[in-house]
């Protein structure tokens, strides 16, 4: 079920009413309802893959309970590996089987021998990368004794499949979400209002910003051979806003929906395009994934301790794995490696934590230096997104070749693109609101319009824009579903 669909608009109020008015007195029943609602939500896309989630849930539940009882280190390790192998096994098969097979075949052919193996027609289960990492965090934390295993299967199943963030995150840690699942939730007016506001802002980002940018980004990327370098730059900028609006919009809707049900999920995006360097960007972009890799991969590998070689190795590993997590394509690997290259100079000169606070925290406007830093960081991310969006390495290479040609200095052509009339004003409005709200968790949180009719007018304007563009750009899926 898509957040930006009528199905969800009907589904959400039904679950909300049942949750707060029918089963509100009983925690177990509330969790059963969450579990059922989550399975309906997921099964709406393809019910066959529910078995996969259920199996992962069962395995991790049993592993968790066993880890709670087992004291022998070797046996505990075996249990942990069972969980890792089952979860990553599913992920590897569904997501990476064909990629590895094709690359092995190419490698063997290159060295003069052929292997006979056919690619499989595999459907990638939506959200598998997200819920796999979420359940893995549970078994790893239980193994590390950072978390007590739960014996409440219903609550555990509800934790694994929690519908607001099941298919595209934020990837919640068991240490954050599971205790909330196990304790009584109370309806809080302010949280519910903030939740609705966050949903509204998420829908605006997705439907008004991302989907409009998608139309033009797709047009330019899909026909890149026909456009000048300057137009291709424009296409890359459109994609840069598309992916942010799309993914952070999804996160906002997920977090907002969770708030309606009394849950507090982690912030997933913190205005990353206002970052002053790449290190800051990665503290603000897809925070739940970055911190997951930091805690479960980077730190176990030694983190930034040790010598220079160790730092370089670990940085490349974490960024390349992060890239590969996004998809079985070399373009994602290069995207990751490029970000590692951006990040390394900061790490090696120990300047990776120089921009911790929000930019221009004490004033309305950034300084000239900050504008320069933000522009440079933004440009670097735009370059990296080209690899992310390209169909393959060849496509990315051709895209760059055209950008770095004399056609870069031509006036961009955007036939069929109502750029100046529609998209530019929308982007300016969006950037302004995001800038004004950059110190908050999301841009329109606790919005400072005191007079209610004016505040409502602002919300109505957003609703009208959402309604307007929802019917213009139909059937736009969320990008991160494919990961």
């Amino acid at each position: 079920m898509l957040f930006n669909s009528l199905d969800f608009a009907i589904f959400l109020p039904i679950v909300f009413v049942l949750y707060w008015f029918v089963v509100n007195k009983n925690l177990k029943q509330q969790n059963i309802l969450i579990g059922i609602a989550s399975y309906v939500f997921y099964g709406w896309w393809d019910w066959r893959f529910l078995a996969l989630i259920l199996f992962s849930t069962l395995v991790d539940y049993v592993v968790g309970v066993s880890l709670g009882k087992e004291q022998n280190l070797n046996k505990r390790k075996i249990l942990l590996w069972i969980s890792i192998l089952v979860n990553l096994g599913f992920l590897g098969f569904f997501k990476y089987y064909n990629f590895f097979l094709d690359n092995f075949k190419s490698a063997f052919t290159f060295f003069g021998s052929e292997i006979n193996a056919n690619s499989l027609n595999i459907i990638l289960p939506v959200g598998i990368s997200f819920y796999t990492f979420q359940t893995l965090s549970y078994t790893i934390d239980v193994y590390k004794k950072r978390l007590e295993p739960t014996k409440d299967f219903i609550s555990f199943a509800a934790f694994v499949s929690f519908f607001p963030q099941l298919v595209a995150g934020p990837i919640e840690r068991a240490t954050n979400l599971l205790p909330q699942m196990l304790s009584k939730r109370k309806f809080e007016y302010n949280e519910a209002v903030e939740g609705l506001r966050q949903i509204l802002w998420g829908l605006f980002k997705k439907i008004v910003i991302a989907d409009n940018c998608a139309t033009y980004a797709n047009l330019i990327f899909n026909n890149s051979a026909e456009y000048s370098g300057s137009t291709l730059v424009l296409g890359a900028v459109f994609f840069t806003f598309q992916i942010y609006g799309d993914f952070s919009g999804y996160s906002d809707i997920a977090i907002g929906t969770s708030r309606l049900f009394g849950f507090k999920l982690m912030q997933n995006f913190a205005f990353p395009y206002f970052s002053r360097d790449i290190a800051e960007f990665w503290r603000r972009w897809h925070i739940s994934l970055s911190t997951w890799f930091r805690d479960y991969l980077y730190i176990p590998l030694g983190g930034s301790r040790g010598g220079t070689w160790m730092k370089v190795r670990n940085t490349f590993i974490i960024f390349i794995v992060s890239g590969f997590w996004h998809g079985a394509n070399w373009t994602f690997v290069i995207w990751g490696a490029l970000n590692a290259l951006y990040f390394l100079p900061l790490l090696l000169t120990e300047r990776n934590r120089q921009n911790i606070e929000v930019v221009a925290g004490d004033s309305y406007f950034p300084s000239i230096k900050e504008i320069g830093q933000m522009s440079l960081t933004f440009s670097l991310t735009v370059i990296a997104w080209i690899f992310f969006r390209a169909d393959n390495i060849g496509h990315a290479w051709n895209y760059f070749s055209e950008i770095f040609s004399s056609s870069l200095f031509r006036i961009p052509s955007y036939e069929g693109v109502s750029f100046l009339k529609i998209l530019l004003p929308l982007l300016l409005l969006f950037i302004t609101i995001e800038w004004l709200g950059r110190k908050r968790e999301f841009a329109i949180e606790t919005i400072k319009i005191k007079f209610r009719p004016f505040r409502y007018l602002f919300y109505y304007s957003l609703v009208i824009l959402i309604y307007w563009f929802a019917s213009e750009n139909v059937d736009q899926q969320f990008i991160y579903f494919q990961f």
């Binding site: 009528l6 309806f187 007016y189 209002v193 409502y456 109505y460 609703v463 307007w468 019917s471």
Partner: protein, 320 residues
């Protein structure tokens, strides 16, 4: 919780009222579909010739040029699928019907859905597109039937018309180029003069490309041909003569259409006409039509429509 629900309700009241009012406006708004269909039902005893098809026939055939009582039931973007069902839903009422002119254009065999117009057609003619469920569209036309862009332009047009000091006769939305002081007669209302902005090579190419893409990407041809054969057979069984005809389009525009499909179309309609032993008249590249007869690359204006009506009338009169 109660405070939350109360405030949510207060917030929702204004949009709900607006939606209900807009729904009421749209449901009561006259349209070209209702205008045409109601006119046809009103004249059901008199009608001898019915013209079906898309905008090419809608604007391109003036039924008033015929000696027999003719009625234009074509509409903008109307596919053969809808032509057939709109006609069949009232066919038993047209007791005097002798000829049905079916527009057989470059793209006629390649699309059945009319896009958003499927819903408009459903609202005003009752014809459903295949198995589509129209429950939501029935609940709220403004939320699920019309896009906000269309609603916005309807309101805009309404306001402009209300404020206008001129004597506007047309009381339903029409395309740019139609004279608002005209009256619809026998289902026909035509384009006035020429769209100078659209009458150039670039626009011809742009528009032709739209149809080329539609035709080249279509997978519906066999299904639509079957549907057309079915319609022809029903008419023949009722002793009504179906006539396939291709409307004139401007030669400079035609050169941008995919030639393979233009030729294929000719032979397809030729084959269908021979199969049923019915006439097929193609005026696509007819030299009888000059620049002055066209509103844009693929539509005749009122003058051209009258000329084409007369030609079709002569052709019918000369049939036997």
């Amino acid at each position: 919780m109660m405070l939350f629900l109360k405030r949510l309700f207060v917030f929702m009241v204004l949009p709900i009222i607006l939606i209900i009012m807009t729904d009421g406006y749209i449901r009561n708004k006259n349209s070209l579909y209702t205008e045409k269909l109601q006119g046809a039902i009103q004249d059901k005893e008199k009608i001898e010739i019915i013209i079906l098809g898309n905008s090419h026939a809608n604007y391109g055939v003036d039924p008033n040029a015929f000696d027999k009582y003719a009625y234009n039931l074509a509409n903008v973007n109307q596919s053969i699928y809808f032509d057939k069902r709109i006609l069949l839903s009232h066919l038993h009422e047209f007791k005097n019907l002798k000829y049905v002119l079916i527009s057989a254009d470059f793209h006629s065999l390649y699309f059945s859905s009319q896009g958003i117009r499927d819903v408009w057609s459903y609202y005003d003619t009752g014809v459903r597109y295949k198995n589509k469920n129209y429950l939501l569209e029935d609940i709220s036309p403004s939320l699920f039937g019309y896009t906000p862009k269309i609603i916005g332009s309807l309101f805009k047009r309404e306001i402009i018309n209300q404020l206008s000091k001129e004597n506007i006769v047309v009381d339903f939305p029409v395309q740019k180029g139609v004279n608002l002081k005209d009256t619809i007669k026998n289902g026909f209302i035509g384009f006035e003069g020429k769209d100078v902005v659209a009458f150039n090579e670039n626009k011809f190419q742009e528009r032709a490309n739209i149809f080329n893409q539609k035709v080249e990407g279509s997978k519906e041809k066999l299904e639509i041909e079957d549907d057309l054969n079915g319609l022809i057979q029903i008419l023949i069984n009722r002793d009504i003569v179906p006539i396939l005809f291709t409307t004139p389009t401007f030669v400079e525009y035609n050169k941008y259409l995919n030639t393979n499909f233009v030729n294929l179309n000719e032979s397809d309609f030729d084959r269908i006409s021979r199969k049923h032993n019915i006439p097929y008249w193609s005026f696509m590249n007819s030299k009888l039509f000059k620049t002055d007869d066209f509103y844009n690359g693929d539509h005749l204006n009122k003058k051209g429509a009258l000329k084409f009506g007369e030609i079709l009338n002569d052709s019918i009169n000369n049939m036997y």
